[in-house]
């Protein structure tokens, strides 16, 4: 399997039949639309390094109430388009004067996208099993294009994370992840998720995270922060070169001026 970093406008194939997600066809040839990684499995696809979540019907998302009208809750779903939850899509009957007391500004809610029309009006629903208001726990935000890595092959990563940290966890397709458990366990899970984001383009990620969580587990139970930090530092060292290159500061450039 061939994988490489590609940029917008880069020629990917002479055969238009190869065109997959993240590509376009011009004069019978396939070009990249995005800055990301090329993946040539059946068709050629490009998975971008970054990008906003664009709502699609049946997606699961975590939203935050940003406005309440007499018959709708309006949700920020981490996308250019806000979502609308009509009162009839709430699991039980709510009178219009009870809207705010049912779900107030700033509430985090597990939702499913019911429909998206052509002008990107996003309708949400809570009338499905498991959808609910999230009153405890934390919400972590990650790059939406990296959600598949949090879930892992066949859900392996999520299973691992839940098992090793004893946390409840729900991954929204809009890049918001809800976790709930003991504080120390949530801290650990948060670190693990950050680690996945950092190493999201590497192979053997599940093993790596498993290793991290197991080591961490001991560390946490010993409450030895020094060891914990050392462990993290080593992990960072792994990526030392990339980090150097990637995150070199703007001002470092300035310094070299003249």
């Amino acid at each position: 399997m061939e994988r490489e970093i590609v940029i917008p406008g880069q020629l990917l194939s002479e055969n238009k039949a190869d065109s997959g997600p993240g590509t376009y066809v011009k004069d019978g040839k396939v070009y990249s639309l995005l800055y990301g990684v090329k993946n040539a499995k059946n068709k050629i696809t490009v998975i971008p390094f970054s990008g906003k979540y664009i709502p699609s019907p049946r997606d699961y998302v975590i939203g935050t109430v940003i406005d309440v009208t007499p018959s709708n809750w309006i949700f920020d779903i981490g996308s250019p388009y806000d979502g609308l939850l009509h009162v009839s899509e709430y699991p039980r009957r709510v009178d219009s004067d009870k809207m705010v007391s049912t779900m107030d500004f700033g509430s985090s809610v597990l939702l499913r996208i019911k429909d998206v029309n052509s002008s990107m009006k996003v309708e949400l629903t809570m009338r499905e099993r498991g959808l609910r208001s999230l009153d405890v726990g934390r919400v972590i935000e990650v790059t939406p294009t990296k959600v598949p890595r949090i879930i892992g092959h066949g859900g392996s990563m999520v299973s691992l994370l839940k098992k090793e940290t004893n946390c409840e966890m729900f991954v929204g397709q809009n890049g918001r992840i809800w976790i709930n458990g003991k504080d120390s366990e949530m801290d650990l899970l948060t670190e693990a998720i950050e680690l996945i984001m950092k190493h999201s383009h590497t192979s053997g990620l599940t093993d790596r995270i498993s290793h991290f969580l197991n080591n961490e587990d001991d560390v946490v139970s010993e409450k030895d922060d020094a060891v914990l930090e050392k462990d993290l530092a080593e992990d960072e060292e792994d990526e030392g070169e990339i980090r150097e290159d990637t995150y070199r500061k703007v001002d470092a450039l300035l310094e070299n001026d003249d």
Partner: protein, 260 residues
Amino acid sequence: MGNEVMSVLKKDYIYNLMLKGKRQDGRSFDEIRNIDLRTNVIEKAEGSAWIKLGETEILVGVKLQVGSPFPDSAGEGVIITSMELNPIASPDFEAGPPKEKAIEMARVADRGIRESGAIDLSKLCITEGEEVWIVFIDIHVLNNTGNIQDAASLGAIAALLTATVPGEREGRGEDMPMPIRDMPVAVTLADLGGEMMVDPDLGEETVCDSRITIVSNQDGSISGMQKSGDGALTEEQLLKAVSLACEKASELRENYLLNI
């Protein structure tokens, strides 16, 4: 844009951390984020400083022009401080003329420099009553992750410390270093559930009840202060904030300004 609602879970998280004596990024209540300060980064300016306070980034440029003095201070130069909260710096900032937040912060930075007498304005007089140097301090905010105020103030004094009065270029005698007499440093604390936290980040700024900025000088005197936000402070909190701010300002001066 501009009216982001912070989720209750996030607010609770920050608040609960505070109850346990912790902060999101692992700092202690009296700990300032890492600072990276580089001076003379813009050759076209008479003085400049690029400051990173955590991920908050600000570029301050100092320009000098010959102009008229104010009638009531005919023998003194003039300081004009402006701040732009550029939309490049945050999804919450919008293009357009400075709004009250930007104007407030620019004025707090300005007062710190002016009232401390950091610049010897009498030395910026060319011909009394006719020509003086006008010092423009322009604060360009590039990335906001909280506490623009302290970054702007530290950047401004750092830029001034590196500035040259361009006498030759303007045909007004020889170049001379900016006549600096003091180094005012602003330190801001946020009141979060009664606890005072130095150098608040974006989340803390959002959750806190109010903020207090204290500008102090080399001799420990205070030359500027501003309470901002819709909460109120107790006298005890205020006095504690003053002593902590002066202590922190002295550290910042030692670490970042005295070696310029």
